[in-house]
């Protein structure tokens, strides 16, 4: 290694552990002296570069980070709270939807379900104990009035028809009770004119303010019931 190359290498890195440089130093005292000189210069440079560091720097750095992570945790807590609130809200909506939404798609489905569910409470042998006057009192809620008895009325009361207030009438039929539902026009399930299942038939009529649904067993002449209702009912404005 020539002199110039050696000097340059020492300037570049006085503490180099490169083998060529170590060998050059070992074999030439003047090179060794030069290297030592530059190393001393480097010690001075190191001392000069070591400017005093502020005493409280470590504490400040840790404090700043502690504040930052506290802030982050607060943000996280807020996010968690928001998440929990969203979940609660969604659950509330779902519950609401399940409770109050239509489980039946047509008035027919519902009328059958209602009839079958309450069938055990009524028997064709029950005494007809509801008078025309008390029926008409209840009909007033639907702005309707019956001019004459439709048949032998076993039961008449308000009930929930798909969440709507409706009037449920049970008459004596040929072999089993006939159910008549009077419900407001604004029920949000599909209207069907006639419907049936294995045991029951049903027919519905639309009036201005209300629908009237008749459900009876297969032996019942529902047309006759419908005609009877049509000719008997009057609607006040």
């Amino acid at each position: 290694m020539d002199e110039l190359q050696f000097r340059r290498s020492i300037y570049e890195d006085p503490h180099s552990t490169d083998e060529d440089i170590l060998n050059a130093k070992a074999s030439d005292p003047s090179k060794q002296k030069f290297a030592k000189e530059i190393q001393q210069l480097d010690d001075k440079i190191l001392n000069a570069l070591k400017v005093p560091v502020p005493d409280d720097m470590v504490q400040k750095l840790i404090l700043r980070q502690a504040l930052e992570s506290h802030q982050q945790q607060k943000k996280k807590k807020r996010v968690h709270l928001a998440l929990a609130a969203s979940v609660a809200f969604a659950m509330g909506l779902t519950l609401n939807f399940m409770n109050f939404s239509t489980a039946y798609t047509t008035v027919g489905d519902y009328a059958f379900a209602h009839t079958e569910f309450e069938a055990s409470h009524f028997s064709n042998a029950d005494e007809a104990k509801v008078s025309l006057a008390s029926l008409n009192k209840k009909m007033a809620a639907f702005h309707g009035n019956f001019s004459d008895n439709l048949g032998q009325l076993i039961f008449a009361d308000y009930c929930r028809f798909d969440g709507m207030k409706s009037l449920h009438l049970v008459f004596k039929g040929e072999t089993s009770p006939v159910n008549v539902f009077i419900l407001p026009n604004d029920v949000d399930i599909a209207f069907t004119n006639s419907f049936s299942n294995q045991q029951l038939n049903g027919k519905s009529m639309q009036f201005k303010d209300a629908n009237i649904i008749v459900v009876g067993d297969k032996s019942e002449a529902l047309d006759k019931w419908q005609d009877n209702i049509k000719s008997n009912v009057t609607w006040s404005i």
Binding site: L41, I62, Q65
Partner: protein
Amino acid sequence: MATKQVRYEALVKALHADLYRYAYWLCREKQVAEDLVQETFLRAWRALDSLKDEKAAKSWLITILRRENARRFERKRFEMSEYEEATITDTQSMSSEQDIENHWLREKIGSLPEEYREPLVLQVIGGFSGEEIADLLSLNKNTVMTRLFRARNQLKEALEKEPEVRGTYNG
């Protein structure tokens, strides 16, 4: 969480001095250097999970700090002015020969071109090799070695040229 905290504090204790000194020689203002280090460690804390190799911690922090410094120039381009050079002056009392020499040398290092000073600081304070400095500064190794050579060469010449000037500090 606790281990992240422990890692962070260890990192601060081990490297804050080197980082502060590097920052100081980058901007040569104590307050700005301190702010840079604060900002750097804060970013380091946020991204600590991405630091996989503790041995790479120092160069990782230096990279963050350089980026922060560059950002400072984007923000404050119009606030920077030349006379800030005067603030290099150390206010510490110069009692010993050593302090006087340090002070004098600091001025010389401060007046080195930035492109020579930065590799020198990284080598002497940071203990980085030529390759590592080349990586950090996105330069090739030969350029880095040339700059290191010129930095020392200029400082040596300055030292040899001005013994009398240095003497006046004693008076």
